[in-house]
Amino acid sequence: MDTAVCQTPDALLAVRGIIKAFGTNMVLKAIDMDIRAGEVVALIGGNGAGKSTLMKIIMGIYQPDDGEIYIQGRLAKLNKPSAALAEGIYLVPQEPMLFPNMTVEQNVLMGFDEKQSELRKRLQGLLSYLGWKLALDRKAATLSIAEQQLVEILRGLMREARLLILDEPTSSLTFHEAEALFQIVADLKAKGIGIVYITHRLTEVFQIADQVLIMRDGVITLSGPVSNFTREMLVAGLLPQGNVAHRLAADSPESQRTLEEPALVLEALTGYGFSSVSLKVYPGEILGLAGVVGAGRTELATTILGRDMVKSGRVLLGGKDITGFRTGQVLKEGLNYVTEDRFVSGIFRISDVAANTTAANLGRMSRFFLNVKEERKITKRFIEAFHTKVTGQDQPIGSLSGGNQQKVVISRALSTSPKVLILDEPTRGIDAAARGDLYAIIEELKRQGLAILLISSDIEEIMELSDRAVTMYCGRINQEFSKGEISQDRLMAASFGVAEGSAEHA
């Protein structure tokens, strides 16, 4: 760390050399960032790039391991949220954090020291200055997401915030609401407020941002005025360095899929979180489903599995219409799902490996008492086939490593002998070695004729495993790729809404 004071004293906020690690996991590796008054800085990055950690450090929620933050050239100590608020920094979270049972006015005025009557006068003044129409006596619970965001912005402005951080503000807004928000951002900018705008949508960057910053794996890979860049350059900044595409194409030949019947067909399926999704998965094929978190992929999977309502469209499993079946029936028909969130809903943490392997299959193993011998047999088969590292079948699954836990979870899904398997982020949080094992297992399942729908935010994973791929953006399939067409930049571009050939809006 050199002794240089902040070189840009005109910056509202200057971040210098911020480092943060959680355990052995380096999340931020010396981040530098400048935000000037009246400037919108777009911050882009995939999941796990470190954006939210950086923002939490600026908000005083986390403490950096190293590095400094300067506010108007002065070293600032942001050790708790109230310190950041006092420095004029306000974060509008992705999901607004209002008090649902309080009125708009109570929400905005919460946490101030001044007298209520004065605050109320200030709030009225602020509203007329901004020209917003917002009923102050409405309960926050009755507001739309867009209105809740306005309340959050008001909270910030009432604190005389000079820097607003907007975390994916448009992710739950309709198109018109988003347009209205852009107008507000432009107004605030004109009034000299600095804005950090976190987003997954590249089109928005060109619409409202002055500067752009791209983060990947805890480093800033690209930064500068938006006018210096094209979409393709931004996509390139999001990609991991060193392309591995050619290596993969060689060792996984195109699947032998011919004119056979697809195992899973979705016909214009619409539900909560996704719309008109049509796709086919054939036996012995892996279809990759790429996209950013929040694109609607998990909602699609859980709806197919019968956990949420289908609004329209059909799900055909082996030619049979299973639309609207309950979860138990869907499993029985031969479709299984390995959840993205192993820790919350994937494992029975304190149960042993055997019980976890057969938990989905108890109906077949028992009349009234469990057939323990059968349970042992099934578990043994999977432990051997997958080389799961366990001390014994009675080891509690919570004590296994992530990779081995995931093997048990996949074993469980397979113990129901499904025809179609949906894997949702199967290697998230799993180390590289175990990842290789899991890939080998997934490849083997494919060879045995299983139809696999692979949901992953990890583009390398989609490339490594998929025979075909589709990308989802804002709840819709926006592009399809054959094996030959799959490439990192194409998938990345489509995931961020920059689809080739589709009508772009900008």
């Binding site: 608020l85 209002l98 008090f99 919460m110 946490g111 909270r155 609401e177 804002c474």
Partner: protein, 333 residues
């Protein structure tokens, strides 16, 4: 303004108590006499004070089930000291200090040691209940001076007891504190959305700690009133009060998940709770059903509240997801 009043949860509770009185009065007109109504309200004073205390805790999203034992302990202390001829101020002061201390230990366990409040206060309930036996040697506290007992009988114009009027004044004061002062509002804010409160720089743990301490203190006030009203203290005095006062809060429109309701509602709920045993007698049932009915009320209200909330959350989730897909459609169109 009128519309707001009609929709408030306190109004529902007041409507409930009016209906209860009119309904029971229709079956047995003796229930609707002025004497009986005063009796019902005046007899609710101990519940009322303790319910206001626990309401503060519930508003922050926590719970305190040690109220019963705390009430018994403070009543035993106050009773014993008055029986032994200590000055009243000492007796009352000692009881209140004990209540405050129990509340502060509860708050410490919940905020610093991060023990779930139901477990922390359940354990505390057991500890304090045991200490009552140690303190009283398992004997009743009797022969309390008549001068102290007569206090509970004093009435203004033959209607409200001075105790109940004092309780009403307390409710008004706490209500103003909660709605009109900055720190008072923190309590509800913490229960409504602890994460959001933290982002605004509100001391979430501090607010919870204060609520537990105040709950202990107010329960001790309830203990003192109990001594004067009942005139003796048994080692099991106050047991079962925790369910009564929690049910009172819930009946009065306070949500167990925090953030919703007012102490006025808690007071109305306490009046309902105190009336139930009399209601049972007047409609010709045994008052032994009292606890059963309280329990049923508690569960029915909490469950229906939870169902309404779950529906609202689910609807909000679906609206959010729908907006997301519409974004793409409209952007293309």
């Amino acid at each position: 303004m009128l519309k707001k009043l009609l929709h408030s949860r306190e109004t529902t509770a007041i409507g409930f108590i009016l209906l209860m009185f009119l309904g029971v009065g229709a079956i047995n007109p003796a229930f609707l006499t002025a004497d009986n109504i005063w009796l019902c309200l005046n007899s609710s004073v101990v519940y009322t004070v303790a319910a206001v205390g626990i309401a503060l805790v519930i508003m922050t999203g926590e719970i305190d089930v040690s109220v019963g034992a705390t009430l018994g302990m403070t009543a035993a202390m106050c009773g014993t000291m008055i029986r032994d001829g200590e000055p009243w101020a000492w007796a009352i002061g000692a009881a209140m200090a004990a209540g405050l201390l129990i509340g502060m230990i509860n708050g410490f366990g919940v905020t610093v040691l991060r023990i779930p409040s139901i477990i922390m206060t359940l354990g505390m309930n057991g500890i304090v209940r045991g200490l009552i036996y140690v303190y009283t040697d398992g004997r009743w506290v009797e022969n309390i001076s008549f001068d102290f007992k007569i206090l509970a009988q004093g009435r203004l114009w033959g209607a409200f007891t001075y105790f109940y009027l004092g309780a009403l004044a307390l409710i008004a004061a706490v209500h103003l504190l909660l709605t009109k002062t900055r720190k008072g509002r923190y309590l509800g804010a913490v229960g409504d959305n602890a994460g959001g409160a933290m982002l605004l720089g509100i001391p979430v743990n501090g607010a919870k700690w204060v609520s537990f301490a105040l709950c202990g203190l107010l329960t001790a006030v309830g203990g003192v009133l109990y001594v004067s009203r009942v005139g003796f203290v048994t080692p099991i005095a106050g047991s079962g009060y925790e369910m009564k006062v929690i049910a009172a809060c819930v009946l009065g429109g306070i949500s167990l998940t925090g953030g919703v309701g007012s102490v006025i509602g808690a007071a109305v709920g306490a009046a309902i709770m105190a009336s139930i045993s009399r209601v049972l007698v007047f409609i010709g049932l045994s008052s032994t059903y009292d606890d059963t009915i309280t329990g049923i009320f508690l569960i029915v209200i909490v469950v229906s509240d939870a169902l309404i909330r779950r529906r609202a959350v689910e609807r909000a989730r679906r609206e959010r997801l729908t907006a997301k897909t519409q974004h793409a459609a409209e952007a293309k169109g």
